[in-house]
Symmetry: D2
Subunit: 290 residues, 4 copies
C-alpha cells in the first residue's frame, strides 16, 4: 500500500509481432510470481499483425522487485518474442514542463488540476516565448522562463531550453497553445513525449488559423485535437479529439470561445492518459486503452 492506502501496482506496456501464446505466457509469468492482475487490455492490429498489451498488477505479494523485473522479463520472455516493452510504477510522479505563448486558458486549467490533486504529476517549469503569462505562473508558484524567438535564434534558444529541461529533470512536455514550431532536433530528445493541442479537428484545417477557416467553410461542428508532436507539422499520432456544434449565428469570436473549452478538455484528457500509461504509439497512430 502507498500512503493513500491505494495498492501499489505496476504497469507493463508490450508490443511485438502477433503470435500464438503471448497473453498466456505473460499472464502466467505474472501469476506464477504472485502478482494479481488488476487490468489487462490487449489489441491486435489486424492489418499489420502487431500485438499490444497494457497489463497492470498488484505488487503487494509480487515476488520480483521492480528493480530486477526488467532483466528477468527480458531474459525469460521479451527476447523470445522480440518484444518492445516498458515498465512503470503507478506511484511514479512524472515531471512535466508546460510551454505557452500568450493564451492562458489551457495553462490555467493545467495548473488548477495539478494544484487540486487531480493528477499524479509535478510541474516545476513553464517555458514561454513571451512574458505575458508570467503572472499566471506566479499565482501558482511555478518557475516561468522566457525564451524570445526570432527566425535566427531558434536553434540556440531551443538548446537553452533543452538544457533547462534537463536541469529540471523533465519527463515530458505539454504545448499549451505554444505558437512556435519545434525543430526535429528538439523533438528527438522527447520522442512521443511532447503533447500538443491543435485548435481544429485534424486532419481538417491544419495550420495556423483554423477557426477562421472553419468559419469561411461554414462547418457546423468544430473540433480540437491533441497529438504527440513529430517533425511533420500537425501530423503526429492523435491521442484525443472532441467537437462542439456551431451554427451560422456563431462569429469567429464565438468559435474561439467555444474552441477554448474544447482545447482545454481535450488536452487535459490527453495528459491524463499519458500519466496513466494508457497510450502506445505505432506507425503514427495511438492505441489508447481506457
Amino acid at each position: 500500500m502507498n500512503e493513500k492506502g491505494v495498492p501499489h501496482s505496476a504497469i507493463l506496456l508490450v508490443s511485438c509481432s502477433d503470435q500464438s501464446g503471448l497473453v498466456a505466457t505473460i499472464t502466467r509469468f505474472i501469476h506464477e510470481n504472485n502478482g494479481n492482475i488488476l487490468n489487462l487490455e490487449q489489441h491486435v492490429d489486424p492489418e499489420e499483425k502487431v500485438f499490444f498489451m497494457r497489463l497492470e498488477w498488484d505488487l503487494e505479494h509480487f515476488e520480483i522487485p521492480l528493480s530486477t523485473f526488467g532483466e528477468t522479463f527480458q531474459r525469460l520472455i521479451a527476447t523470445r518474442f522480440d518484444m518492445e516493452w516498458s515498465l512503470h510504477s503507478a506511484n511514479e510522479k512524472p515531471r512535466m514542463a508546460v510551454f505557452v505563448s500568450t493564451l492562458s486558458h489551457c495553462l490555467y486549467d493545467i495548473l488548477s488540476r495539478a494544484h487540486a490533486g487531480e493528477w499524479n504529476v509535478e510541474i516545476p517549469l513553464i517555458v514561454s516565448n513571451h512574458q505575458t503569462l508570467k503572472p499566471v505562473a506566479e499565482k501558482f508558484g511555478v518557475e516561468y522562463r522566457v525564451f524570445p524567438m526570432t527566425p535566427d535564434n531558434k536553434r540556440t534558444q531551443e538548446e537553452k531550453e533543452l538544457a533547462l529541461l534537463q536541469t529540471y529533470q523533465i519527463d515530458f512536455v505539454v504545448l499549451a497553445r505554444y505558437m512556435q514550431v519545434l525543430t526535429s532536433e528538439f523533438l528527438d530528445h522527447y520522442p512521443n513525449r511532447v503533447i500538443n493541442i491543435h485548435h481544429s479537428f485534424l486532419p481538417a484545417l491544419a495550420g495556423g488559423k483554423p477557426y477562421h477557416s472553419a468559419h469561411d467553410r461554414g462547418v457546423k461542428i468544430i473540433g480540437a485535437t491533441s497529438h504527440y508532436v513529430t517533425a511533420e507539422l500537425d501530423a503526429g499520432p492523435i491521442i484525443e479529439q472532441d467537437i462542439v456544434r456551431i451554427s451560422h449565428a456563431d462569429s469567429i469570436d464565438d468559435l474561439v470561445r467555444k474552441g477554448r473549452d474544447l482545447e482545454k478538455g481535450v488536452l487535459a484528457r490527453s495528459i491524463w492518459h499519458h500519466l496513466k500509461r494508457n497510450i502506445l504509439v505505432f506507425r503514427n497512430r495511438t492505441i489508447v486503452f481506457t
Copy 2:
C-alpha cells in the same frame, strides 16, 4: 386549417443588404394585413453586412391571397430594399428524387420515413447507375430507373435523367450514397436543390475513401457531412454534420458500420430542414434556422 387541423401557414425567406428598418417594415406589412406571426428568425452576417430572415405566419385571417402576395410584396417592399426572397406554403408537398448506387442504408431510411409519414414529401422516382437496389424500390412501390455510367456516356445519360426529372416534376434531388459526380451542366438545373451525403467530416478527408483515410490517420472521431452539391467536388454549402467516437479497436469495417448510421441520420436531418424551408444559402455557406 388544412385537413389535419393544422393552421395553414406561409413561409417567407428574405435576404438583402443589412439596413435599418428591415424587420420593422416586413413585420408591420404582415401585421397590417392580419397575418399572425408564428415564427421569426433573422440573422445578420456581421462581416458581409447581409440580412437573412425566415418568417412564418398564419394564413387564417391573412388578407392577401398567396397567389398575389408576390406581386404586392415586390412592389411595396422588396424593390425598395433590393431583396431576394421566396414564398412557400407550409402545405406544399415537394417532389423528391433519390439517386443511389449500391449501398442501401440511406435509401431504406429515406423510404421508411416517407412511408411512415415523417415528412411532407412525395418520392415518385429513384435513379441509379446500378440494378442493385431495385428490390428496395419495389418493396416501397417506387419507380426505379437505371442509367449505367461510363466515362463516355455521362453527358447523354444525364440528359436522359434530366428529362425524366422533368417528366416527374421533381423539385429537388437527394444523392443517397450515389457514387457518380454530377456535371455542372446537370447541377445548373437544380441550384441548391441537390443534397449529397459525404461519408466524412468535411473539409477533412474529402474524396473517395474517407474511412480508409480516417483509419490510416488514426483519428478518434469520424463524421458525416451533408451539403448542397456544387461544381466543385465535396465543396458545396454544408447543411448538417455529425460525428461518432471511434478507437484503435475499430477496424475499417467498424468505421463503415458506425459511419452508415451517421450518414443516414445526417442526410435525414438535411432533408427535414430543406423541406421545412429552414435553409438559406449565401456565399457557399448555409444559414439553417432551427
Copy 3:
C-alpha cells in the same frame, strides 16, 4: 473459414469470483490447444470482486471440437474456479422476434438492417397487439401475428405468444416500441433475452409519457435507453443510452421526432452488441465489451 472467407471463431463468456490466475489459466488452455486468441477483454468489479471475461479465438487449428469443448472446459477449469460460462460460435445466426404496437420507426430500421445484411440474424416473426404495422411486415415478407390485449386476456395471450415463439425457435425478443408490459411469467422464459427500448434517459422519466414530462420539466437534453426487460418496469440492466440536445423552441412533437431517431439508433446498437455476444449481466448491470 466460413463462406465469406471470415475465419470461424468461438466466443467464451466467463464470470466468477475474482481470484489469482484466471486469465493465465484460461488463455493457456486455449493456447495449448492451438487456438489463436483474437480478442480478450476482461473486467473485475472492484466492489463485488467478480471477474468477467469475453474471449474470442480462431478455430482454424483449434484441436477441441466445439461440440465437446463444454465438457472439457467444465472439467478442467470451470469447476475449479466455480465459473459461470457460455460458449458461442461466431457463425451462429440467432433467431429474433420483434414485438411492436403501432409505431413503425424502430421496426423499419430493424427490418432494413436485417435485409441489408448488417446483422447476422434471422427475423422470422413479428408479434403485435395491433394490425397497424402488418403492411410493414408484408413489405419485408415477415410473418405478422396479432394478439389483441385486454386487462383480462393478457396471461392467455402471452401463453399463445410463448407457444408461437417456441414454434419459431426464437432465441431472443426485441420490443420495438411495444406498448404492453410483459408479465414476469413471460419473462422467465427469456431471461436477459428480451431487449426493450425506452423513450427516455433512464432512470429519469420512467413511465409512459416521457416526452411530455421532459417538456414540462424544461430539460435541455432528451435521451433513450435500451435494457434487458425484468419484472420491475423500466428497471432492467441498461445496455445502451444516447441523447440529443433540445431547446425551448422544441415542441412535444419535435421531441417525439428527435426521440424517434435516438430510439432506433440505441435499439440497433443494443441488438448489435447482443448478437456479437458483447454483453454480460451482473446484478442488474451490464458489462458491454466493445
Copy 4:
C-alpha cells in the same frame, strides 16, 4: 463605441400574452428612434400562448437615452400589451458572488475565466462554509468569507451572508458545488439570480450522491445540470445540461473525475448565458436564446 471599440448596445427582454403585432410594434419603435437592430430572437410558447423576445440594438444613433427609455417604453408600448420587460446595457459589468464548500474545480474554472477576461463580470466575494478553499481565493486576490453552518445557525448565518452580499452590491450568486441548501427566505432576495450546478442529469438522480446512484443503476451516460435555485430542491428552471459516456469499466472515482469536467463546463456556459442576458424564465422553464 465603448473603450474596446465595440458598439455600445442595449438588450431588451420582453414577455407577455401572445397577440398580433408585437414584433411589428416593438421593432418599429426601435427603428423610428434610429436604433439599428443587431439581434432579434423571439419565441411563442404554443400551449400557454406566451410571447418572449430578446432584442439587441445599437445605441450609437439611438435617440432615447437609456435613462429615460423605460418610462417611454412603458407608456407607449408595455402598458398597452401588458408586458413584463427588463432593459440592460451590454456594457454593464454585473457583480457575482461565488459560494463554495470544499471542492475546487468549479471555483478554479470560474476565477480563471474571470481573470483571463472571458467574461464581463466582477467577482469581489467568495462565501464558504469551510476554510478549505481560502488558498484558491488568495491566489486570485478575492475576498473569502467563512460562515460555518450547523442545523441551528442556518438562518442567522444566512442573514449575515445577505448583509455581506448587500455590502458588496452583489447582483447574482453562483453555487459552485456549495453543499448547503439555501432557505426560501434567502432565495427570495435573489429570484432567478442564484445559479447552481447539480452533478447529475436532472430530473434523474436528484439528491446528494448521484455518482453513486449512477454507478449502482449501471447507466451508460452521466450528466450535469445547472439551474436557477428555487425553494424546491433540485427542481428549479434548468439552464444547461451536458453528458459524458461511461462504461462498466468506470469506477465511482472515474465518474467523479469525468463529472468534474462536465460540471465546470455546464456551470460556465450558464454563467455566460446569464451574463449575456440570454435567459428568460417562465413557469419553471427557461428560454435560452443562443
